[in-house]
Amino acid sequence: MASSTPIENTIRQKLTVALSPITLQIYNDSNKHAHHKAMEGVTSKETHFRLVITSAEFTGKPQLARHRMVNALLKEELEREGGIHALQLRTLNPEEEEKLDKKVEEGVVG
């Protein structure tokens, strides 16, 4: 039986292979935007994604470079008609994730 989430599967597979992430969360936010004018006539249920990625590959790289890495991995899906329309990225390296977890524990960050 064919998958109903082919783009999500591709995202997971490509990013896992390339970045060996310790955290990879994929949120499909398409239904939040489905009623927007820009999405009129679009039948795909996989248009808007929000990714949270923690990978050692991001260490020593500024945010722009990290996002460019992810964009490059998903280039085909982004350029394809009917592919990914919007991509929100939160990119952390392992140290940043640890610091953030501590802050959440301490109740500083919601």
Binding site: H36, K37, A38, Q63, L64, H67, R68, N71, K75, L78, E79, A86, L87, Q88, L89, R90
Partner: protein, 105 residues
């Protein structure tokens, strides 16, 4: 951006404009282009920056990033530093003048 600063046509464009407003960017030094009105710009800008989405912020011709990066830099303080360094914020003297012109009771 998608839409205009007064009427953004996309949540990510709106958020980006809001952040620039919060940071006190000088409107005289700011220009916005509505890609929804011009498909050539919409496609061209993505090719130019090799970046797949809109909005895109450029400061003094340098590509800074999209909405996520702006939010992240805003939270870390990096954005304020950048905008100050690039001299695109409303100068403090102007705010002082505005105070001087306040009518007294």
């Amino acid at each position: 951006m998608k839409g205009t600063p007064e009427f953004p046509q996309c949540g990510f464009s709106r958020a980006s404009i809001q952040i620039l407003g919060l940071q006190g960017v000088d409107p005289k030094k700011f220009a916005a282009f509505n890609v929804l009105e011009d498909n050539e710009i919409r496609e061209g800008i993505k090719e130019y920056s090799n970046w797949p989405t809109i909005p895109q912020l450029y400061v003094n011709k340098e590509f800074i990033g999209g909405c996520d990066i702006l939010v992240s830099m805003h939270q870390s303080g990096e954005l304020e530093d950048l905008l100050e360094k690039e001299k695109v914020l409303v100068p403090p003297e102007e705010s002082a003048d505005a105070n001087a012109e306040k009518p007294s009771s």
